[in-house]
Amino acid sequence: MVLFSFLVSTFFAALWRRTFRDQVVLFFQLFLGMVLGGLVIAWLMYPFPAGPPAPIP
């Protein structure tokens, strides 16, 4: 999740911003948003049972 967030954040920071400062700001916004958001969603899903594994087709 951290590696995925790093790659995607770097990509969009380079794609959407031109100055280095703006790129760094957007990178941290996206990166922290994805990592912390993922942890929050995982915490919210904790009470729900995982269920049996999906059958292999």
Partner: protein, 138 residues
């Protein structure tokens, strides 16, 4: 409107092309980052090449799924479109190496997410290269 401001306004309306948009788009599709490189954005092109390449490499290391069209599964069309956004690497993996991923691997779905993301990132790069070539973007 004065005579002096008229050419300036026309210049603002019509962006100046910086290259061949079709060539840039095709190059960007075939090789990630190549569209930016042929437009003179070497550093950004190399960065995009590395990012898409790492995403694909991680997906392959996890034995992730490489989507292909499956009859009766409409979602496979979208997945294939996203993966085919990788350009040459997709076709090499699909048709030369017959790569499909390892279904029983623990990283099968995670790897698929990385491969799909690499393809989708490259599709955005195609649009970006097109806009830069047309002068709509820096």
């Amino acid at each position: 409107m004065t005579d002096e401001s008229e050419p300036q306004a026309a210049q603002e309306r019509e962006p100046e092309p910086r290259g061949n948009p079709m060539l840039a788009a095709v190059a960007a599709w075939l090789v990630p980052g190549a569209g930016h490189m042929i437009l003179g954005r070497w550093r950004r092109g190399l960065l995009f090449l590395v990012l898409v390449g790492v995403s694909l490499a991680v997906g392959l290391a996890l034995d992730g799924k490489l989507w292909h069209i499956t009859r009766g599964q409409p979602l496979s069309y979208l997945g294939t479109f996203a993966c085919a956004g990788l350009g040459i690497p997709y076709f090499v993996l699909r048709f030369a190496m017959h790569y499909q991923g390892d279904l029983v691997s623990q990283g099968y779905e995670y790897g698929a997410a990385f491969i799909l993301t690499g393809g989708l990132m490259n599709l955005l790069l195609i649009l970006d290269a097109w806009d830069i070539a047309r002068g709509l973007k820096e």
